[in-house]
Symmetry: C2
Subunit: 432 residues, 2 copies
């Protein structure tokens, strides 16, 4: 494989790094128009429109709207029908993910200030959440767990899953994961029409307050467009991994970690930073050796050759600086003392620390979420979590005494802003 | 004034309420095209483009790019030049807002599981935040405090403010508030060109990680478009208040509270819910009486007549149900026992409890933020807070022992998903 080699000592390193990281989604006007038409049609015709699109795009001859919903017994049967090892693995993963996310639950709080005014915030779960799960090849049961469990931990009352089943083909692992995660209802619809149904509601499909979960370009466009009618999670770009290695990890391990990102799709980005030039070549040799045994070798090769890089750095401190510039989705610290690097790392979706912590362990079962900010958005965004399924209402209860002092301040500032009703409303209380 | 009266006993109440709440932003294609062109021009030409647009739109004859920045001494002078009462009011408000928001600071945490694997999350502030402040009439110093202080409390290292100064007119209260809030740099630019400068950076204006603050339709469109390059706060719709009153509050107070929302703009929405029909008419009479003394009476009248409503409800429980359906930005509980209503209230930006708690006290100085979710988005969004200026990175450090158990689970699930590199990467650690 011909993977790009860079060195921070290159005179034009900054420009080369920028070029490597550059990724701009191209706007597809035809797709946008199609999605806009589907959303508007579902808004207008409801179930009838959803049925039409599902018959057309998924070749699913649904008799009526009721046929879109899967009975819960089918989810349970899928779960019970799994091979024992798979069922146990899914259960253990769900337990660990639940247990981690329980630490994220926020609680309401209040306090009294000196003049008896109560201030606080009330934390409540969202009422109803929609979970989009892709059909076909990219149907990942782990993704069902990672999206559904934080919502359940947050206390969301109702979780509605949509999953397209083109030609009627159902993914048993996905249905089993839905059962295990406590998904309340499942509809076998997908695409922009499913997003529209969740956002606007139909006679059969209830309106949700937020839509989460990955999807193709149609789904992403639909989510962007319904934002406001309901909430959405982030729109993910291609997946990325940055591995920082001191040169002391088995090069086969590091090469396979780069592969595990690259195998997702041709646009995935896998980058290694190391101060050890010989180690970089050892990883490249491992990659060449290991590639042949990979069923997805063509995807891996394309991703690594087009978007991957092996970068020689001066030392681990410089590696941290570059990592902060990249703000990677996944950051592996394959070093002897990862703890000492933490204070220097400002932006990353998830940090996998130490030689034993492959990204894949975190993807499936360590506990933290695998839905992470991509394309440098870790500069300002966070992993999916319980936070995304709770919301806060500020609480203010001003005492009679507080109304004196606060009324004077508010009136002064309101007059300064030319908002006399605001001022008057404060003065009524002050002078009561 | 002719304010709409509704009753939940009306047979078509649901439909009438839906119609009252309906608000759809109309897409303005010409505006969108203008904004797209400005963004692309600033991305390409940087400072030169920003200077051109500022000269054109704000009639500001800037000599060069350096002239866009205000010296910090000018902010300090503005603060020191305020009348003492105004300066003190601003200081007291800033203290209270800071003190409330300090309670929102999130800290990093970690824990060890049974097999010695460390899990946790590292919380870090955003590096650099841009604060948009509108120029002209809608220039509110309180808004500077509410946007800047949570960022400072979160630990954001650098806060960049942009504020247009059309024809060179500067708002001294706004500059004073910037000084008080610890804003680091101020540029006298606005509109889509300012948003573009913050999002993409120019030679003179540094790239920020997130842009917050209100603005007109051009600013809102620009913020939507740069989202992804940087983070943005919510895009606010027209402001709203819902007052629930048991009929025992002075009707003048309630009428003035409705006015204080209505005076913002003609599209603002003010609604009263009360089980006391006579009280509703008393509030209407107060409104007629008080309107004449209001400098902004035309705006108030238009807003109340077009989008306001006085709604007769069966009881306070029913009022809570309707409030949950509306998910109001501001919710006033002008009742004897507001605490007892809290458990029934699921969705609201801020809840103002008791007869003394006018919304205006919360807008300026009670402590909580006045940037709140509008148009029913309180179903899934929260007030602006320290949370919006911090982000989380998941931490995972798997022990040698943990790699045995987690490796087995991850490999089983990865094989199930057809991701062999993920599985192999986990097995390398398991079998080490």
């Amino acid at each position: 494989m011909n993977i790009t080699r860079l060195s921070t000592r290159d005179t034009d390193f900054d420009a080369k790094l920028s070029k490597l990281l550059a990724f701009e989604e191209t706007a597809d006007e035809k797709l946008e128009a199609t999605v806009a038409a589907i959303l508007s049609d579902v808004k207008k015709r409801g179930d009838a429109a959803v049925l039409d699109y599902t018959r057309k795009f998924d070749r699913l001859p649904l008799a009526d709207a009721a046929a879109m919903e899967l009975p819960k017994s089918e989810l349970q049967a899928a779960f019970e029908g799994l091979p024992a090892a798979q069922r146990t693995a899914l259960e253990r993963a769900a337990q660990r993910v639940t247990s981690y996310h329980q630490k994220q639950v926020q609680s309401s709080w209040t306090y009294l200030d000196d003049d008896g005014t109560m201030l606080g915030q009330q934390v409540t779960p969202l009422d109803r959440v929609g979970l989009y799960v892709p059909g076909g090849k990219a149907a990942y049961p782990s993704s069902v767990l990672m999206n559904a469990l934080p919502a359940k931990v947050a206390g969301v009352a109702e979780l509605i899953m949509v999953v397209p089943t083109p030609d009627g083909v159902k993914n048993q692992l996905v249905l089993a994961a839905a059962h295990l995660s406590g998904v309340d209802r499942v509809f076998t619809i997908g695409g922009a029409q499913a997003v529209a149904a969740l956002a606007y509601g139909t006679a059969s499909i209830p309106t949700v307050d937020k839509i989460v979960g990955p999807g193709n370009a149609y789904v992403a466009s639909a989510k962007r467009r319904v934002f406001g009618a309901c909430g959405i999670d982030m729109i993910a770009g291609p997946s990325e991994i940055l591995v920082i290695c001191d040169g002391q990890t088995n090069p086969d391990w590091v090469a396979m970690d780069l592969f595990s990102q690259a195998e997702h799709d041709e646009l995935a980005q896998a980058i290694l930073l190391s101060p050890d030039a010989a180690f970089i070549e050892a990883v490249a040799a491992s990659a060449d050796k290991l590639l042949e045994q990979m069923p997805r070798k063509e995807i891996i090769k394309t991703a690594l050759e087009n978007r991957g890089a092996l970068i020689h750095v001066a030392d681990l401190d410089e590696a941290c600086d570059i990592s902060n510039r990249i703000a990677p989705e996944h950051l592996e610290l394959s070093v002897a003392d990862p703890q000492s690097m933490l204070p220097k790392l400002k932006h990353a979706g998830a940090i996998f620390m130490g030689r034993y912590t492959s990204e894949s362990l975190g993807d499936y079962c360590a506990g933290p979420n695998h839905v992470l900010p991509t394309s440098g958005t870790a500069r300002f965004s966070s992993p999916l979590g319980v936070y995304d399924f709770q919301k806060r209402s500020s609480l203010i209860q001003v005492s009679a005494q507080g109304a004196q002092t606060l009324g004077a301040i508010a009136a002064e500032l309101a007059f300064g802003e030319g908002l006399q009703a605001h001022a008057q409303s404060a003065l009524f209380r002050k002078n009561a």
